[in-house]
């Protein structure tokens, strides 16, 4: 019997020949990414255990992003502590203010994601990096502390689920709609503890960035990871970012999957996930009522990359944001911000009446820079619409693609982007 890419990567990193789902292993970690919220408790744990040196400073990438720029005194203290630790440990891969951005957008952009690696971060959306053929998963602070100390971490080898996606998307429909539709179909625990592997002609057509959107939201179906076998696009992307060597690992043709889905996306429409679960997706044609919006949010590790901004700008060009709606655009990284500026996208957003913030997680998790009041409704290109996710427990979040966020901002209510393209 063949093996999946996930089983092979985990085997290689734990010195085993063969692994099967359910096996408990101790694996060597290639990249440990640290952000502000979950890292400070890990540093306290290391201190309490008398661990004064991290295993290997070169494995560590530090990217404060949740409350950046510091939102209040407490978050300022958190980052100050991280900054001191970075200096003391000699960690060179540190993306402080000026090079800052959302950690899952910076990591691949700056060449820190290599196919075949194991990547961990104290953040659930670490599944994003599976788009480049790495095993990448979210962990908590204790895991982070253990990995920082030893360079290793325990894992249970997950069962894999295979999603074979074929067809071509209609204009105005994007990879975000595809993943929202998959989560609608299988539910928020449809892939609990599983590795979600995506393949098929459709995936091959997608840019690496659009693939990241799909793997990013694997966690919203309960997945342990999302992963896509590398192809020429992956190789070209990685080579454009780093000169580090890599070995390509692929799933065998006869690999065993716990479940297989075949999905054709040719008839898919824009999907909107209604409050309060990412699985509450509705096709735009099914929405009969007018859902008026107080805020439209474009950003995050799901959809704050350059092509997301380009798509939204195409719709907003020569249009205006509805006077009853506030639109906030948050380019996910400093590089994306600069590029968007060069391409004139920032001007398009500002001329339309939106505001453009510095990169941050910000309002995506209800941190700062755009919090919702009770009773307010927001359409958002982010990944979660739980109760209180972007502010008041009485506010509502509707998840959608960047295109749907832009068309809805113009009309001040949930609106189909296809008529603007």
């Amino acid at each position: 019997m063949g093996k999946t890419i996930t089983e092979k990567i985990l085997a290689k990193h734990s010195g085993q020949e063969n692994l099967s789902p359910g096996d408990l292993i101790n694996a060597e970690i290639d990249v440990i990414m640290c952000h502000d919220v979950t890292t400070t408790p890990a540093l306290d744990m290391l201190k309490a255990k008398g661990v004064n040196k991290v295993c290997d400073p070169d494995k560590i990438v530090v990217i404060p992003d949740h409350f950046i720029p510091n939102k209040d005194i407490k978050s300022a203290e958190m980052v100050a502590k991280i900054r001191r630790w970075v200096k003391e440990q000699g960690i060179s891969k540190f993306y402080d203010l000026g090079k800052h951005g959302v950690c899952h957008a910076i990591l691949p952009e700056q060449g820190h994601v290599i196919p075949g690696q194991i990547i961990i971060c104290g953040d659930s959306h670490t599944s994003t990096h599976g788009a480049l053929g790495a095993f990448s998963t979210g962990i908590g602070s204790t895991d982070l502390a253990a990995a920082l100390a030893t360079g290793k971490l325990w894992f249970k080898v997950p069962h894999s689920m295979l999603f074979t996606i074929t067809g071509s998307l209609q204009k105005g429909v994007y990879s975000k709609d595809v993943i929202l539709d998959i989560i609608r179909m299988i539910g928020v625990d449809g892939a609990l503890y599983k590795a979600m592997e995506f393949n098929g002609d459709f995936i091959k057509q997608l840019s690496v960035e659009a693939r990241m959107t799909i793997c990013n939201m694997a966690i919203e179906a309960g997945g342990k990871s999302g992963i896509i076998n590398p192809d020429q696009k992956t190789i070209d992307y990685v080579k454009s970012k780093t000169d580090q060597d890599f070995e390509l690992i692929y799933s065998d043709h006869d690999a065993e999957y716990e479940k297989k889905y075949e999905i054709n996306v040719s008839d898919l429409e824009p999907i909107i996930a209604f409050p309060n679960l990412p699985s509450n997706g509705k096709k735009i044609s099914e929405i009969k009522e007018n859902i008026y919006l107080d805020q439209a949010y474009l950003g995050s590790c799901t959809n704050g990359r350059l092509e997301d901004l380009q798509i939204a700008a195409e719709i907003l060009k020569d249009n205006k944001v509805n006077p009853d709606t506030r639109m906030i655009v948050v380019p996910a990284t400093t590089e994306i911000w600069k590029q968007a500026n060069k391409e004139g996208l920032i001007d398009i957003f500002m001329d339309a009446g939106a505001t453009v913030s510095t990169p941050t997680c910000g309002a995506c998790l209800g941190g700062h820079m755009g919090i919702l009041a009770g009773g307010e409704k927001c359409i958002s290109s982010t990944n979660r619409n739980f109760v209180g996710r972007m502010g008041s427990p009485k506010s509502e979040v509707y998840l959608a693609s960047p295109a749907t966020v832009a068309s809805s901002a113009i009309e001040g209510k949930i609106a189909d982007p296809r008529k603007y393209l």
Binding site: M45, S124, G140, G366
Partner: protein, 160 residues
């Protein structure tokens, strides 16, 4: 372990509900505990007593990886969570803290808030003293029992 149940007969209770992100600029158990379960039950923190249990449906702890969710519950005095099943990172965080996360079928239908429960982790048994009922659960994996015994992953790796 003996304590009272606080039952939330709901699936997919997420970490944003267990401890909202607006409190993530703190990481001490006693500070987080003041806001435990705030967005799902404002009165939780006034009802809970040292040694109690939280009971829930499927997929408890889904969403973000914040271990703050485990700390907030433990800080509030909760000694174990019993749910039909758990989201992956929350389950992992419980294990790594040596905090029992127990999976038991239909538990949120069987146990009402206020029921007094006695839990035998090793035997995989819950005794509902109020209703005089017994429920079995799949005993925790050996690795989890070891973590509970030594007090979590950080102690485990230093012992290893």
């Amino acid at each position: 372990m003996i304590g009272n149940a606080h039952t939330y007969d709901k699936n997919h209770i997420n970490t944003d509900e267990i401890i909202p992100a607006r409190y993530l600029n703190m990481d001490q158990e006693k500070d987080l505990a003041k806001h435990a379960m705030e967005d799902i039950d404002e009165k939780f923190i006034h009802k809970v007593q040292e040694g109690d249990f939280v009971i829930a449906g499927k997929d408890f702890g889904c969403g973000s990886s914040r271990e703050h969710a485990v700390w907030a519950l433990r800080g509030a005095g909760i000694k174990a969570v019993i749910a039909v099943n758990f989201a992956r990172i929350f389950y992992r965080n419980c294990m790594n803290n040596g905090f029992p996360a127990i999976e038991c079928d239909d538990i949120s239908k069987k146990v009402q808030s206020g029921d007094k429960l006695e839990i035998d982790i090793k035997a995989g048994k819950i005794n509902n003293l109020t209703k005089n009922e017994q429920y079995n659960f799949k005993p925790l994996p050996e690795f989890a029992l070891k973590m509970i015994e030594v007090g979590g992953l950080m102690n485990y790796i230093t012992i290893e």
